[in-house]
Amino acid sequence: MNSELIRNDFPILKKECGGRPIVYLDNAATSQKPLPVLEAVYEYNTQGNGNPHRGAHVLAISASEAYDGSKEIVRRFINKRSPKEIIYTRNTTESLNLIARSYGETHLKKGDHIVITIAEHHANLVTWQRVAQKTGAVLDYIYVDKKTGHFLEKDLEKINKNVKIVAFAQVSNVLGIEFDPRPLIQRAHEAGAVVVLDGAQSAPHRRVDVQELDCDFFAFSGHKMCASGGIGVLYGKEQLLDDMEPFNLGGDMIEEVREQSTDFAELPAKFEAGTQNVEGAVSLEAAIRYLNEIGFDEIQKQERKLVTQAIQGMQQIPHIRIIGTENPEEKEGLVSFTVDDVHPHDVAEILSAVGICIRTGHHCAQPLHTYLGIYASCRASFYFYNTEEEVQYFLKHLRTVRSVMGYDD
């Protein structure tokens, strides 16, 4: 991987900060965008912008083509059969809310169970709390081993025939653990449950094949994988989507509207109300093309290298505690940690002063933090455009944190 060439595509990485180019290690929160993506959006806006699916003129047609063309790229990206099964949303959060409302609230009843894991992002947790509350279903948790981050084997037994939904992140945004979701999916399907896979932290980093995974729903965000804000994806199996209530109502998702009743459009329009974010769709297509060109094998190789270097370096610094497994082979591009006696917010502040961007807080995973007995943590998350030199710089300054805070070890 030619890091230098790649980094030329990301002007923001040259931004001066703390006396040197910024070191952006908050990629799990949102990624940066390469020039080809910015240019594709610019080109659309200066050559082809119109309202898709709503007119016969040349710009309405170019907008429709841009929008539908982008879906075809997404379809291939996750290896789906039909573009009908690809719904554009605003982000992972909206994708998950769509499932919760249009599937969860209408298909579950009192006494049914929903199983999620304690490591879920709030988007895949609070959503199910509401479904449980509205339907009378019960929300069960699969807990993880506090050291390794692996699911507790015995908790998998919670996936029994009362369970109607099993929802979990393919990669946890705190533990960063990369595990094989297939046994869980298989167990869920044997129990007759529907599987919701939160791909926010997996889709940006690795090839995803929803047919092979055989998950029923899959959600991810464009902004975490080099695309613009405001575009997300929901994949769902056609017969499930067909059988669901519409989500938002309005233009473009209708077949025929009368004063007192409405026939809804077919998939995917049924779930796409109002004027869509075509620029977002264009940027997502450009982002996927960009990532494909680099290649996911290369991306994973680079990230593995950086994570390994980071973990090995951190293990050498006293008073650093890595959250979850310390095996770099199991970490998907991110490492969460704490520094003894230094609050994560202070760690982030100290690093930010020298131009290093890491995330601090509960990372939208409060129940996991509570379970682990910490209130907050730090997270360094990498993407393919990060370099070994950046990790070195990060480690160097991480080493100073305790001394800045007045500890002399």
Binding site: H343, H345, E349, A353, T360, G361, H362, V404, M405, G406
Partner: protein, 151 residues
Amino acid sequence: MDMNQLYTELILEYNKDKTNKRPVENPTLSEHGHNPNCGDDIVLQVKMKDGVIQDLAYTGSGCAISQASTAMMIELVSGRTADEALRLVHLFLDMIRGKITDESQLEELEAAVSLKDISKMPVRVKCAVLGWHTLEEALTKLQSKTVKSNK
């Protein structure tokens, strides 16, 4: 901002000073305060006697700024009446909001004056005011209770 300006010796000292990081026995009121996004989370406990703050301490966790600020506050208001404490809380909050131009007014805040420049760091303002806001809540509740029980 240079880290040495933010994490001054004074702040680091108060951050490490755990004298008042402890539960209060038989508190008159416990009040929870938090900044979910930063990860600051404290419980402030106050014991009143004859309208005066007899004991004040906190438990929980937070960044150096929130911990030092809370420690400074406790030192400042302990032994004062609720009214007096509230006045100082408001003075501090005004300072952090950058509303006070006459520096001499701030002397009363004692060690907490050192947090003045936080007003230039929007993200840290929340940390600096956490303890003070929590005390404000607590005292306001106590006063409305007193009013009620006086009726």
